[in-house]
């Protein structure tokens, strides 16, 4: 039965990946054709950053069962690593010299620096369990943005680091979807300057081609999924699973629990650092308030809601939460306003005394709505949108036990 179920899960995951891949491939051309602007593609690239973060945090939380509440710190470390060494920021630092190192080098440096930070934080703290580890990581997540606020001579403090070098993306990465010619074929009105083609994307200023960044993040996500999927099935993946189930038993099996947990932490952090460097490059600006506690929590919500431990699940979770946060919530006020107009409740839209008008009021309670959406989703699917096999069993098993306990209690009564 379990074998059958395992096969069913694999089929389900394969289908999710297939659908996601088709959507990802069709997305840029569709958007360009439908809207004529690449704003949505650029937003999708940003969403991709969060997908990458969720995949990384899933290793820590979903596979190894370590609650990390400061995940954004590693994201920040990756972003700052790239920003410092690929902008003129260090000119005004005590160093008086800036570097402008290439993106392709720095994205891996960012990854390793974040992984190193993970090891340094993890080594003394991974002996802690559960809540204690969560608190330490929470503290670390606060320290890193505070450091960048308070070291303005290095990080620019509240003024952020701007003018970050754009990566030079090879022409093939922009793919057959992008470039002047393709856009011109789809929408001649968008791209009038044919022929003046540089080797990248002539329709957009050099290096700010959102399609290129979009393609880059899609490739990075595919790479991450393959990598993490293999990790999950490896010996290390089984060791993580054992530690999550029962740490003492895992140690009794001969698993070196400290090293294994440290590896989960470092691998999770390296994904975050990788995503951070990409984020710095694609956004061109890195400031401390992009890495606050809210980011850590958002990524955690994506993982839990998508289905802890299931890679396909957390990808969908990340996309759903990103969509809710960045599309549904911002549009909510105007949607509500027009709805009120349709139903003849125009008076609600007018400011009157303490009443700020429906749109304003909706704006104010938008995070309440977000909370409600989260609560509803957790009530409807407590195991996540696409749970992992183990997690699904866990909840089923708990439910069975509860039922049995209830029956016993009824008999006793």
């Amino acid at each position: 039965m379990a074998l059958l179920q395992r096969r069913r899960m694999r089929d389900r995951d394969a289908m999710i990946y297939g659908v996601l891949l088709i959507l990802a491939l069709a997305f840029p051309a569709t958007v360009l054709y439908a809207t004529g602007s690449s704003a949505l593609i650029s937003q999708a690239g940003h969403a991709g950053t969060f997908v990458l973060l969720a995949i990384g945090l899933n290793v820590v939380v979903g596979f190894a069962g370590l609650l990390d509440l400061g995940y954004a710190a590693f994201f920040a470390i990756g972003a700052y690593t790239y920003a410092l060494f690929a902008s003129s920021q260090l000119d005004s630092s005590p160093l008086h010299h800036s570097f402008h190192l290439p993106f392709w080098l720095m994205i891996f440096v960012g990854m390793f620096v974040a992984a190193a930070a993970g090891v340094i934080l993890g080594f003394p703290t991974l002996r802690l369990r559960g809540d204690y580890l969560a608190i330490v990581t929470l503290g670390f997540g606060e320290i890193v943005p505070q450091l960048s606020y308070n070291l303005p001579q290095w990080t620019g403090g509240i003024n952020a680091i701007g003018g970050i070098d754009s990566p030079s993306l090879p022409a093939w990465i922009t793919g057959p979807w992008a470039g002047a010619n393709n856009i011109a074929i789809i929408r001649p009105d968008v791209c009038p300057v044919l022929g003046s083609s540089t080797k990248f994307a002539p329709c957009f200023s050099f290096g700010f081609d959102p399609i290129a960044f979009y393609v880059l993040i899609v490739i990075m996500i595919i790479g991450a999924v393959i990598l993490v999927g293999n990790l999950h099935r490896s010996r290390l993946g089984r060791a993580w699973m054992a530690i999550r189930e029962d740490e003492v038993a895992a140690a009794a099996m001969g698993i070196n629990t400290v090293t294994t947990k440290l590896l989960a932490f470092a691998i999770g952090a390296s994904f975050s650092g990788f995503a951070g460097a990409y984020y710095g490059a694609s956004f061109g600006l890195v400031s401390p308030d992009q890495f606050l506690f809210l980011v850590s929590v958002t990524v955690l919500v994506m993982v839990v809601l998508g289905g802890m431990g299931s890679i396909a699940g957390v990808i969908v979770g990340a996309l759903v939460i990103y969509f809710v946060l960045n599309s549904i919530l911002p549009q909510l006020p105007s949607t509500v306003e027009s709805l009120a107009n349709t139903f003849g409740l125009n008076s609600l839209n007018v400011q009157n005394g303490d009443w700020p008008g429906l749109a304003q009021e909706t704006q104010r309670v938008s995070f309440l709505v977000y909370g409600l959406i989260l609560v509803l989703m957790m009530l409807l699917r407590p195991q996540g949108i696409f749970p992992s096999r183990v997690r699904e069993q866990e909840l089923k098993h708990a439910a069975v036990q509860e039922d049995e306990a209830a029956v016993e209690a009824a008999h006793a009564g």
Binding site: A2, R238, A242, A249, G254, V390
Partner: protein
């Protein structure tokens, strides 16, 4: 030929001394029982052997190596395997996956498959339930799985912590006869038990622990016949 030798081992939990000069040894091919009441230090002795805690003083030697300060994962690799108290299965994994976890430190696929067969011959019940989730097994089946999992490491010394705990009498019989069978196949066993009668019955030798020190030792038969042991542990 001693495979395991503890020499005047002292161990502490914080400032509380749990073991006082404990010296025991297990020879190759033996079943040795460690009996004593609650809190006597039986589980602590196992924990110091398996490296989950380290003694304050004294030495532990296994297979001619000093393992006094060695970490648990290395000790498992050397061939000491413990079926811990309370079984500590991986409740959300299947029976087969639990058994595979037991072979975590091993690399030889054919050897692992052979040992899996051996475990299934010893415990036919586990074979019937191979794809079942471990947490849904009955208590006796869980104990069988815990022992089977320990065997998957192909141990040079098998340590069993309270294998009869919470089992029906008929299952206790089965478990102890399997302990004997495992031993007959060549694996020395260190058995920690509150069920002193059963433990001494199957053991070649035994030690009696009381508040952290060894107070009596002898062959299984001698201890069963001893008045002190009968009074204190057998309720005669």
């Amino acid at each position: 030929m001693a495979i395991l030798e503890l020499e005047s081992v002292d161990a502490f939990y914080g400032r509380i001394q749990a073991l006082r000069g404990v010296s025991i040894k297990v020879d190759k091919g033996e079943i040795v029982a460690l009996i004593g009441s609650n809190g006597a230090g039986k589980t602590t002795t196992l924990r110091t052997i398996s490296g989950l805690m380290h003694p304050h003083s004294g030495t532990i030697r296994f297979d001619n190596h000093d393992i006094t300060r060695t970490g648990p994962s290395t000790i498992v690799e050397m061939g000491v395997c413990q079926s811990p108290e309370g079984r500590r299965l991986f409740p959300r994994m299947t029976v087969v996956d639990n058994l595979f976890m037991g072979a975590y430190t091993r690399n030889d696929k054919p050897g692992i498959a052979a040992d899996m067969d051996r475990v299934f011959t010893l415990f036919p019940r586990l074979k019937e339930r191979r794809t079942q989730i471990a947490g849904t097994l009955s208590g006796g089946e869980q104990q069988m799985l815990a022992m089977g999992r320990a065997l998957m490491a192909r141990p040079k010394l098998l340590m069993l912590d309270e294998p009869s705990l919470g089992l029906a009498p008929i299952l206790i019989e089965t478990i102890f006869s399997i302990v004997r069978e495992i031993n007959a196949q060549g694996t020395p066993v260190l058995l920690v038990e509150q069920n002193a009668y059963k433990a001494l019955e199957v053991s070649h030798r035994g030690y009696v622990l009381e508040t952290g020190s060894i107070v009596q030792t002898g062959s299984g038969k001698e201890l069963l016949a001893s008045e002190d042991v009968q009074k204190a542990y057998l309720g005669m």
